[in-house]
Amino acid sequence: MLLSRILNMRLITHNMLTSHVKGVTNGYPLIIEATEVEEKEVDFNPEFISRMMSRIEWPALVKAMEWIGKKDCLPEEPIENCEKDNDFLQKAHHALMEIEVITGSLKCPESGRKFPISNGIPNMLLNEDEV
């Protein structure tokens, strides 16, 4: 069974996460400070990526790639009719699905609060004085 694969934080998850520390007005996107990153090949599903295009924040994904150290892998802005452009979707697929952060942290851009990633899992729990 494919089920027993270990899945660490992908950039698709990072694209959804935000900081809700008390007092923070814009906690998005979280700055990735990765100490351990892994690339894994994942089956490309153009239909899924195409649908995801309307659900993800593209600038945050571009930033994320930059923080991972893969700056020029994505165009700054999605190209026109990108939902149908296979080359473009391949690149988005690679960024969203094939890069996994195993250890590091996600830093709130406003408060600087760091949320640790360990064992591939981001811990977004806040302390009592942060809610």
Partner: protein, 599 residues
């Protein structure tokens, strides 16, 4: 034959050069050349050979020594061993197909390698307080004399019992094996403990660990080879501190919690106080063995021969017992949290911390997806992104191929389990979901809201679900229903009462805790008598442990629940903006709603 003799002499010479006091005169001390840990022979292997024929008082070897030193009980045993084992070939423990030939010589005196001491740097479980030399040797022998005489002719103030693997005497109250409690209505005498215990008791109460004078005492007598199964003393029958005094012989105690195991030496004359986690979470046991093998300093292994050990276990029986509740037939007082701090602290203690502790067992027993949840997920559009809030061990994260599921949970241990199942997960509080607004096509929140201890928090959790869902997106919420019998149909929870005995806890008493909150304890697999309560979770008995007496008692954890009355969930939804109830239903002891966020 000649070759063997040569080798024998060579080995002898080598030992002499190492400074070992080799003696030609037989003594009870023997050195075994090539039988040491440094040569790949473990103490277990040697012990296995010795135990069949002779009594060994002590064995001593080290990783740095190719030999082992052994103290037999008598010169006769030593002579017999030297004669019979000379030249014995045994397999090495680590290296396959390699053997060692043993040569044995007498020693003028016992050699303790590297001044071996029993390693004292074992980390004891949190809450375990071990006081060495709590009693003097005089106090010990006086106690032993008195106890021996009580075992020979038990006084009328006591109860004598012979268990399969030890003999016991109860004072104060009779300890009931089976229910692991006492009958508060049946004290054994007005005087409590025998007079010879007075001095010991005064000494114990002089330490800060015991707040109240114990009123129940069990004296256990363990012959070599006796033991006690892994257990936690019944938290509902006895107080916060359990005290054990050891007399007579050294023994190794094993304590376990989850995958953590700690062995430590319990010396005679020592006192052990089980408090906190060591009292409530860790099990303790004494293996049925005649010899304990323990790690010493400098990588040495030491064997300890057990003699007869006598232990005195002092307990404080709890005032409220289940039969009293039954007699009054009244519900205990309920005091629920009425502010955020109280709610936070209760949920931390009775929800978050518990799920971390029971994660493994929970994951094994809660792996079956509920059909109507799967149906909800299957009806979503292809390639929907769905967040499972409170995903537990991830039973819904992989049931539907056409959608992409994300899971979040407060419990680190549970998310760790999801992590190995090819699932997207993060750790967070459902009251504060760390994702963008309108980010998911749909959400599910199964069996989560009933762990929140105020109505305001249950509403907040619903609002968070609505916030992260896209306009027009659907949300499925399940909560536990107070009505376990609905339209003449019993839920599986009630139906499984007979088959899942390990989850049944006998009593239904209230449990006070530090914050001043008070909650009744629910009896597993029965109808709910109230909406707010603690529901016991009993860890599965370890099947590896042979049941040697009726005293195998794994720890019980308590989870807080607020069970929902009919229409209560809908009422909460009405208080949330942008929320439309699409469907609501009762499903096998649960209330469920499907919500849609306004477009």
């Amino acid at each position: 034959m000649e070759k063997m003799f040569k080798k024998n002499q060579k080995a002898k010479k080598k030992l002499c050069n190492n400074g070992l006091p080799i003696s030609e005169v037989p003594s009870k001390f023997v050195v075994i050349a090539n039988g040491g840990l440094g040569n790949g022979i473990s103490v277990h292997q040697l012990t296995a050979i010795f135990e069949k024929h002779w009594v060994v008082e002590r064995t001593n070897t080290s990783i740095h020594c190719s030999y082992a030193c052994v103290a037999f009980d008598s010169v006769e045993s030593a002579v017999s061993a030297v004669t019979n084992l000379q030249g014995t070939v045994i397999k090495k423990r680590c290296e396959q197909n390699k053997t060692a030939v043993l040569y044995l010589f007498y020693l003028g005196k016992m050699v303790d390698l590297n001044k071996t001491e029993i390693s004292t740097n074992t980390t004891l479980p949190p809450g375990l307080i071990l006081c060495e030399e709590f009693l003097s040797q005089e106090e010990e022998s006086l106690l032993l004399t008195n106890i021996d005489s009580d075992f020979t002719s038990p006084p009328p103030t006591s109860i004598f019992e012979k268990l399969k693997h030890r003999t016991v005497l109860h004072y104060g109250y009779r300890f009931r094996y089976g229910s692991n409690d006492v009958d508060k209505n049946e004290p054994l005498s007005d005087h409590g403990f025998p007079n010879y215990i007075d001095g010991l008791l005064t000494k114990l109460l002089g330490l800060p660990h015991l707040k109240n004078k114990p009123d129940q005492l069990t004296i256990n007598k363990y012959a070599p080879g006796d033991g006690i199964a892994s257990h936690v003393d019944n938290p509902e029958a006895f107080g916060e501190v359990i005290t054990t005094i050891s007399l007579g012989s050294t023994v190794v105690m094993e304590m376990k919690f989850g995958d953590k195991v700690t062995d430590f030496v319990v010396n005679p004359r020592s006192a052990i106080f089980f408090t906190g986690d060591a009292r409530y979470k860790w099990t303790h046991c004494i293996k049925q063995k005649k010899t304990d093998i323990i790690a010493g300093t400098n990588d040495c292994r030491v064997t300890l021969q057990r003699g007869t050990r006598v232990s005195l276990t002092f307990r404080n029986t709890l005032a409220v017992q289940n039969h009293e509740i039954k007699l009054t037939n009244q519900l205990p007082d309920v005091k629920l949290p009425d502010n955020t701090t109280e709610a936070d602290s209760m949920e931390k203690q009775y929800v978050h911390s518990v799920y971390n502790d029971i994660a493994e067992h929970f994951s094994q027993t809660r792996d079956k997806p509920w059909p109507r949840v799967v149906e909800f997920l299957s009806n979503l559009d292809k390639h929907s992104t769905v967040l499972d809030v409170g995903c537990g061990s991830g039973r819904y994260l992989k049931v539907c191929k056409n959608i992409t599921m994300f899971g979040c949970d407060y419990s680190k241990s549970l998310t760790n389990i999801c992590h190995t199942k090819n699932s997207h997960v993060f750790i967070c509080d459902g009251l504060n979901i760390p994702t963008r607004t309108s980010c998911f096509d749909a959400c599910i929140c199964i069996a989560v809201l009933h762990h929140l201890s105020t109505e305001q928090r249950r509403i907040s959790a619903l609002q968070e679900l609505l916030r992260v869902t896209m306009p027009g997106g659907k949300i499925l919420v399940y909560v536990w229903a107070e009505e376990q019998n609905f339209r003449n149909k019993r839920s599986n929870y009630l139906k499984n009462a007979d088959t899942q005995n390990h989850e049944i806890v006998e009593s239904s008493v209230k449990k006070d805790h530090s914050s001043g909150l008070s909650l009744p304890i629910h009896k597993n697999r029965t109808n709910f008598k109230q909406q707010d309560m603690l529901v016991p979770w009993k860890l599965k008995k370890q099947t590896t442990e042979k049941p040697n007496d009726n005293f195998s008692n794994p720890p019980t954890f308590y989870r807080y629940y607020h069970v929902f009355k009919q229409l209560e969930l809908e009422r909460l939804c009405f208080q949330c903006p942008h929320c439309r109830i699409v469907e609501s239903y009762h499903d096998n002891g649960n209330w469920a709603v499907i919500l849609q966020k306004d477009s």
